[in-house]
Structure formats: C-alpha cells, structure tokens
Symmetry: C2
C-alpha cells in the first residue's frame, strides 16, 4: 500500500548507489586499497579547522537553550545577515538579511522552491546532463521535468532548444553550474543567453518564469574559470546553495536560498519560501550549524586538494587516449565513453576495479562520470588500470 | 506565480505565530517581564549537560571528514542500533537497526511517511484537537485530512466516528499522544480500540491502513500517566519521534521513524522510507546530532521543571474557577473558554497581557491552549491576571 511514486522510486535504483555498493562488496573481497571508486561525490578534504573550533566555542559559551532552540523558520537573523553581506562583498549584489532563508542543504532548498512555485503538471526545464535527483524533486510536487538534450561537445546550454521548450506550463528553468556530472562551468554568454530567452518568453506569455540556480560547487573552479552570479543577469532567480562542498559538511545539511530584490514581489516570495520550509517539515535549518557557518562564512576547505586530483586525472586519462568535457569546476570529470553504450563501458571498467557512473543516469548517454574527491595516491595508482582499459578499446 | 497551495498557506496565518508576534510587539512596549506569553511550545529547560559535553568530545576526537560527512540516507548504523536497543529495553519491542530511519525531527518524519504512502486524494484521519501542521503535511502530497470532531470532555478518540470515517480512500490514521494541544494522554483502552477498528476495517476493505503515531511528548507524563507503545497494539504502525522535547533540541532537527516487524513487508517499507527521506531533500538527519543523541540515548532534560509549572498553573486556574481537559502529558493545558467563542476569549485575554492560543486553530472551538514551557515565576505572577480575567466572566 505504498504510493505509486514510492513504488516507482524503489524500482529506479540509483546508478551511483549501485556502483558504490558493488565497490564496497568488491573491497571486502580484494581489499579497499585495490578498488578505484570514482562513484561518490563525498568531499575528501576535511572542514576547515576553524569550523570545529567554532562548534566547541559555541558549546562552551552559549546558553544551550538558545543554541539548540527553534530558530525563526527562515533562520537566525544574524546568520542571514552574514550570508547576505558575504554575497554582496563577493558578487556585488544587494541582498539583505530578509533576502536569505537558511535551509537543510541544497536538497532542502530546491524542494522548498519547488513546493513554493509548482502546481501539478507545471513544467521545470533542465539541460542534460543533470543531477538525477531533480527528477524526484520535481515529481514530489507532481510537476513535470522537461529535459533538453546535451549540447555536445561543449555541454553549454542549448538556447534554441530552450526557446522551443518553454510554454504556458513552464514554471522554471533549473541550472547547475559548475555542473554535476559534467564539471562544465556555464559561460557568461550562456547565462546571458538564458536570461534573454526567459525575459523574452515572460513577456510573450505574460507570466513569470523562474530561474533556479543550484550552486553547491560555486567555489570549486579551476584554471581561472569564473562563476557568473546568476541573479545579476536575471531578475526572477532563486539561488540555492549548500555549504556541503565549500566547508566539507555534507552530513550536516546546511545551506540557503537567496531571493534577489529584482524578483517580482520579492518580499512576498521570501515569506512564501519561509512558509514552505516550515510546511515541508524542515522547520528550520539545524541551529548549531547556522551559528557555526556564520562564524566561518569567509572560510573554505582545502579546495586545492581537488585541483591537484583533477590535474593528475586529466593528464593521465588524456595520455591514455581518453577525451572528456572541459573540466573547469566541481569535482567531476565527464569522460567520453569509447563505445556508444556507456552502461556497458562502466560494466567493463569493473574488470579493472574502476567504479565509474554511466552518463545515461544523468540524461547523457555516451559519457561516464568520475568523481575525483578521492585520495590522491589512489588516483595515481588507478592510471595503470585506465591504461589497460584504454588499450582494450584501441585508444592511444 | 506562486503555487495555489502556497497562496493558500500565506493566507492561513498561524494563530500561534500571530499571538506570539503580538506578544513580542507588546513586550517592546511594556517590557517582556510584563507579557505572559503562553503561546509557543519551545522547551524551557536546557539540554542535559552531557549532551553539550558529548558534542565537544566528538569534535575533539573524531575525524571531521567522518563526523560531518554524508551518512547513509537512513542514518548511521550504530545510531539506529542504539535507538532500537533503547526502545526495546523501555517498551519490550523487537526493533533492530534496520527498523529505524533517522530523520530531520518529527516534522521531517511525518512528511517522509506521508510521501511514502499517499497518492493524491488519499485520506488521513485525525482526531480533533490536533496539531495544525497536519493539514499542511497531508496537503503537501495532495492528500485529504479527515477530521473527527472532539470527544468532549475526555478528548479520548471517538471510535464510533472513526469507524464511520474509514473508506477505500483511507490510507492512515494519525494520532498524537501525549497530545498537542490538549495535554491528554490516550488510554490503553483507546489505543486498543483504535487497533481493533483498524484491524476490522483492513479485513473488510482488503487493504492496509497505517497508524502513524507522532510522539515527541512521549516522555512528558505526569501524575503516573503511562504511554502505551502503539506498535505493540497495532501491526501497521509508524512511530514518529523527535528528540526536540526530551533532550531540549528543537532547533537541531533530529528524530526518527521506527517501523515494527509486524508491519506488512516491513523491510520493503523501511527501504521506501529511507528513499523518501532522500527524495524529499532531507538526504540524512544532521550527522553530528545523530552521533550526539546516540551517546545521550538514556539522558533526559529536567522534565520535572514542566511538572512543577503544570501544578502551579493547574492549581491556580482551578482556584480562579476555570476548568480544563485532564492534563496528563506534554507541556500544554487545554482550558475551557468561559464563552463559546474561544477566539474572542483569547482576544479579551490580551487585555491582561495573557497570550493564549484559540482552540479553533486546532479544530476544537470552545477551548484555548496554554503552553507552560515558560519561566516558573512568570506562571506564578500570571495568576493575578487570570483571576481578573475569570472575574470578568463571572467565574468563582
């Protein structure tokens, strides 16, 4: 007697989860040091030292009733203010405390936005490749996810297809840059292009179309790549952020939604977002974590760790004869499968105990994802395996 | 361009929130010491000392990558095991780690259950008075909340009405004992009665009907009252728990769902619950808090604090001539309004700076809720105000 959606979700086993579980099983058989698991996007570098020191300080100095008590559904005012000021300083925006709603991570943020804007059968557009949970986040509220095919080989958003996909049912476009799974960073031209299309379509259809920017990887940029702050280009933008990656806190579920003043009725929308976060049962973002990220708002984990991993992996794979999408951000590398069937390629890679995730599960067949948030020496040691794999496909 | 449900939610301002905000405004005018705010159910006694010591110890001794990393969507296995063992010891149940899914508080737990079982238009039955958020939790998934009228003056569930309310669309019955807002504890006879009705109806209709037990106040019992552990009486029971009240951690959002082995397909259901908690964007219950509640699983805040407050309030109000529902649990007292119009009575009480919440907002006109999780001296000082209020209505 489970709901139809739940039955469906149970059948759609996550490809990531499946390969990860296979890797765990294999590790027990041959030793974990011999399994090259590139499946999970779990930070591999710890939270900054100051973060843990801050928690201890808060525990030692604050009144526990206040420290662990309910906060406003939108979060603690000083925390929201610190987030707003941090964004303004870095991106030249004009957020104020009221523009920010603290959330249970980016997953909580996106669901809160969906709850706030979606009626059943409303459409949300994504550009493939895209994070597979988006299917669920939109389905939770009986919306429909509309997928725009990958734009090979740049993976920048396809604006012509975007134009064609928008209709009266379109409530939002959901983007994710730096991108999971491709590691692609959207160019300024792309962001401007999306904004232009949306502005034009808003006018044509006489309705608001929201742009939802999911940006947990915003700080993970390489080779001088730049993040173009989306709400500066388009007025009706929701910024959904998580500290999971920048502070290495994925388990603590702390993030926020930022609502720019350029959004139509922004104060009403901010109140609606606060209401939705309560109604969905999040109630408030974890209180102690709110206080801790406030104190560490200018901190970052050692992101150089990922830069180093990326370079080793990229150089090694290129040498083997593989090609991949331009990897400018996040901690993912999107490799072109040497055969059309990426699922088969991932299966075959298991022969060398290489755990890769098929691109099909991100709406992008023909590619596979490698998460390089793993120990550097493991990446180094994996190279001879990749070389053997490449050889089988006649690369190099 | 907000969703229809969101527009509706914005109109339905919370009665609790409104009176609380009035109290805040009034406090700024006349001093907070002169405002007698009985509106909010926010714990008034701090977390046990061991809890904060545990957090510091975890921070000092654990690998931050592990401490703050993603956990399994269902929670950390050792934490789930500790919860299962604690329940088994106290209630003679036979949970195992796999039976427990850690959640973002009870709000997260109930939404996760609703997501798991509800198709649009499915019905969930509640007994008034009931916690007003249930309306939203069921509406989130396009279910329908069916309300059974209050059973004056005992407020025990009305079993005849329950029988009549059940039909093919009924997916669940949602109970909350000790009850918010009434402070009533359901008797063993009531729990048994509900179980019998549900079992009979399951057979008659050939379908499962779930019993969802929302029990954040389980440990707040007075005058020797007993909590009858619901899954021991009825097989298809979801236990939804929060540590918010027993450990005074409402802001930290930590709780669990327990799924008994007597539930049909319990292992599949447990997997579905784990999937739903991921899909709804909770992902996992906050990691550090999971570890901390594990270490403090046998701890409790100073619940005697509430017992003392309750006695002072009960004695005082009775002396003034007020009557109330038998207050055996939680930290609420449900007062009979001396006039039929409870909303007007609450308005009038503001004259004495007494902030009470109307019962109508809990589906129970004619009564008002007092949350006595406030400073004891304030309760003492409020008595002369209540005496003046009583006098106006010709009581005593």
């Amino acid at each position: 007697m489970l709901s139809k959606q739940t039955e469906k979700a149970l059948q759609n086993r996550s490809a990531i989860r499946e390969i990860f579980e296979y890797g765990m099983k294999r590790g027990q058989e041959i030793g974990f040091e011999n399994v090259f698991d590139f499946s999970l996007g779990n930070p591999a570098t710890p939270a900054p030292k100051k973060f843990d020191e801050t928690i201890i300080k808060l525990e030692q100095t604050m009144d526990p009733l206040k420290l662990h008590g309910y906060t406003d559904n939108a979060g603690i005012m000083e925390v929201r203010d610190a987030v707003a000021k941090n964004l303004n300083k870095r991106f030249g925006t004009d957020f104020e405390a009221k523009s920010i709603v603290m959330t249970v991570g980016a997953g909580g943020a996106i669901n809160t936005v969906m709850k706030t804007i979606l009626d059943p059968d409303d459409e949300v557009i994504v550009f493939a490749p895209y994070f597979s949970e988006y299917d669920n986040y939109v389905a939770n509220f009986y919306g429909k996810l509309v997928k725009i095919a990958p734009n090979f080989p740049t993976f920048q958003p396809n604006l012509d297809e975007l134009k064609k996909a928008i209709n009266k049912k379109t409530k939002a476009v959901l983007i994710n840059t730096p991108n999971n799974p491709s590691g692609i960073v959207y160019s300024e031209e792309s962001i401007k292009g999306i904004a232009e299309v949306l502005r034009e379509k808003q006018k044509e259809l006489g309705q608001e179309i929201y742009l939802i920017s999911d940006e947990p990887y915003r700080e993970l940029l390489f080779d001088g790549a730049k993040h173009y702050f989306v709400s500066k280009y388009y007025e009706n933008t929701f910024i959904c952020y998580s500290f999971s990656k920048s502070l290495s806190l994925p388990g603590e579920r702390i993030g926020y939604i930022a609502i720019p003043k350029t959004m139509a009725d922004w104060e009403k929308v901010a109140l609606a977002i606060k209401t939705s976060t309560r109604i969905l049962g999040f109630v408030n973002a974890p209180a102690l974590m709110q206080m801790a990220v406030k104190e560490c708002i200018d901190e970052q984990s050692d992101l150089e760790y990922y830069a180093k991993n990326r370079q080793i992996l990229l150089d090694g794979l290129t040498k083997c004869g593989f090609t991949c999408a331009k990897p400018e951000g996040a901690f993912y590398l999107f490799l072109k499968s040497p055969i059309a069937d990426d699922v088969e390629f991932c299966e075959h890679a298991k022969k060398y105990d290489l755990m890769l995730v098929n691109g099909s599960s991100f709406g992008c067949p023909g590619y596979v994802r490698l998460a390089y948030c793993v120990a550097t020496d493991k990446i180094e040691r994996s190279m001879e395996k990749f070389a053997l794999l490449a050889k089988e496909y006649g690369l190099q």
